[in-house]
Amino acid sequence: MKKIAITLMAGLFLIASLPVMAETTKAEKDECLLLSKNCATEVDSLQKKVKKLQTEIKKGTRVYTADELKTLENKLKEVNDYLNSLNKPGR
């Protein structure tokens, strides 16, 4: 009985340890330093923000209410307008 209990505990311990070990392996490379990706202070580029908003808007009423969709559409217009103003011609 004692042996069974010890074996079960050891098994549970191993299973519980698996995600931690996987995270450790993933975190071995610092992608922020190496590839400028997944930095804690990363801010989306305007283009990335446009894509994210377009993806969410495409989900439509299946996911969002009409008011929420309008908010997302307004945000998309806002980002596009800002992108245009960055590239506005003139002196």
Binding site: S45, L46, Q47, K49, K75, S85, L86, G90
Partner: protein, 436 residues
């Protein structure tokens, strides 16, 4: 109160303070930027001269725009944008503090920061109202022929289900010894209505009151009132998209006592053709035979460039490079028809263009256009015809942030320039553009 009794109260206060601080400090930070550098080979830029035996120039020009938006919530944000230009590489270094467009020479170190926008963008959802307060970009509802510039003011926009209504006040200049006395102000009323998902109509009224403001290097101050009324619309019929406007100006030049009565009209169309898109624009703007403001269309000159009659407006829809404003031009910004006032002569402008996706990342465009003055105000020209432009553009999208492009343009000058026996102007640009 004993310390043991005080502790729960202190802890509660600390928690409440922390919650409050977290909510107040939750600001979304958005950064954006655009970097553009081009090499230009031209007998027209950067001088803008049209003459005989004009030399060929080649130069590099650079611009960076950086923007930061601090959003306390969806309904409250501060919008800022700054610009750094080198009007051409190699121009100067260790310059300043007035170093606009300077610092492109070895050593750099020049104060060349320009502030474009600094404004508060505030929504009041319960009132369906948006307020923009401060130095902000404003574009008219008439494809930019009247005004399109950064300006300080307050713009209020109320949203309805299928419409918006805006009212605004902008202070363009204040040049007198007493603040608020000699000012040039613009008042705006603008409405847009979505008839359905394919058709939009609009109407706008602008009022400019320029009260004896002084212009740099111009002896005569500007003292005018201008009322502008216009309607605009856009619709889609099958594959054909049509948009356009009609605008009328009236008012008085208080210096010359001349009453103004000017007119502008435009129609633009576009439709798919093969794999590409075909575009066309036609613009007519009235002018004066006697170089007065009687029938010339008022476009506001910036105080700084008034001596060159360079207005804070621009019509870019016809995709011209030399005949009309070039969308790629930065500090060195020249064109034969710089604004639709066109030195009080007005303009007749027509263009045809075609955009074609050559591959998933390479796009080609070809444009042709003609321009003539509506009225020749010197009388010394053989004809009203200014010229015909042809231009070609290739844009390669390296990735979603980086574009490489090449654009070449040539203008066959019309008989308006016959007496000058001038060389036909041309311009070739190789451009790198990075956006984030």
């Amino acid at each position: 109160m004993k310390l043991r009794r005080k502790l729960p109260a202190v802890a509660a206060a600390v928690v409440l303070t922390a919650v409050g601080a977290t909510s107040a400090m939750a600001v979304e930070h958005q950064f954006g930027g655009a970097f553009t550098t081009f090499w230009d080979l031209s007998n027209y830029n950067p001088s803008g001269d049209i003459k005989k035996d004009v030399p060929t120039s080649n130069y590099f020009e650079q611009r960076v725009r950086l923007g930061y938006t601090g959003k306390a919530s969806n309904d409250l944000k501060l919008v800022t944008m700054f610009e750094f230009d080198y009007s051409f590489w190699g121009n100067s270094s260790y310059d300043g503090p007035i170093g606009r467009g300077q610092g492109g020479a070895i050593g750099a170190d020049t104060g060349n920061l320009e502030t474009k926008s600094l404004y508060l963008d505030w929504n009041i959802p319960s009132q369906k109202l948006n307020a923009k307060i401060g130095m902000q970009p404003f574009d008219d509802a008439f494809k930019g022929i009247f005004v399109g510039a950064d300006m300080a003011g307050i713009l209020l926009t109320h949203s309805y289900t299928n419409a918006t209504a805006s009212a605004g006040f902008f202070r363009w200049n204040d040049t007198g010894a007493t603040a608020g006395k000699n000012t040039r102000d613009m008042f705006v009323l603008d409405g847009k209505y979505n008839v359905n998902d394919k058709t939009q109509i609009g109407a706008a009224y602008y009022f400019v009151n320029s009260d004896n403001i002084s212009m740099i290097n111009v002896t005569t101050p500007e003292d005018v009132t201008v009322h502008m009324l216009g309607v605009n619309g856009a619709t889609k019929v099958g594959d054909l998209s049509v948009d356009g406007f009609l605008a009328y100006q009236f008012g008085e030049d208080n210096f010359t006592n001349v009453d103004r009565s000017a007119f502008a009209g435009n129609v633009g169309v576009s439709m798919p053709l093969g794999k590409g898109t075909c575009r066309s624009e036609f613009l007519y703007v009235s002018g004066d035979k006697d170089d007065s403001s009687k029938h010339s269309f008022y476009t506001p000159y910036s105080q700084k460039f008034a001596q060159y009659k360079l207005a804070e407006s621009g019509f870019y829809n016809n995709e011209m490079v030399i005949l009309g404003r070039d969308k790629n031009a930065m500090t060195n910004d020249n064109s034969i028809v710089y604004d639709v006032n066109n030195k009080n002569q007005g303009v007749i402008f027509g263009s045809l263009g075609y955009d074609y996706p050559l591959t998933s990342s390479l796009t080609g465009s070809v444009n042709a256009g003609f321009a003539a003055v509506a009225e020749d105000n010197s009388g010394n020209h053989k004809s009203d015809y200014l010229g015909t432009e042809g231009n070609l553009e290739l844009v390669y999208k390296f990735n979603e942030n980086l574009k490489l492009s090449a654009r070449a343009a040539y203008v066959a000058l019309g008989d308006y320039y016959d007496a000058l026996d001038a060389d036909d102007p041309y311009d070739v640009k190789l451009i790198v553009k990075y956006n984030f």
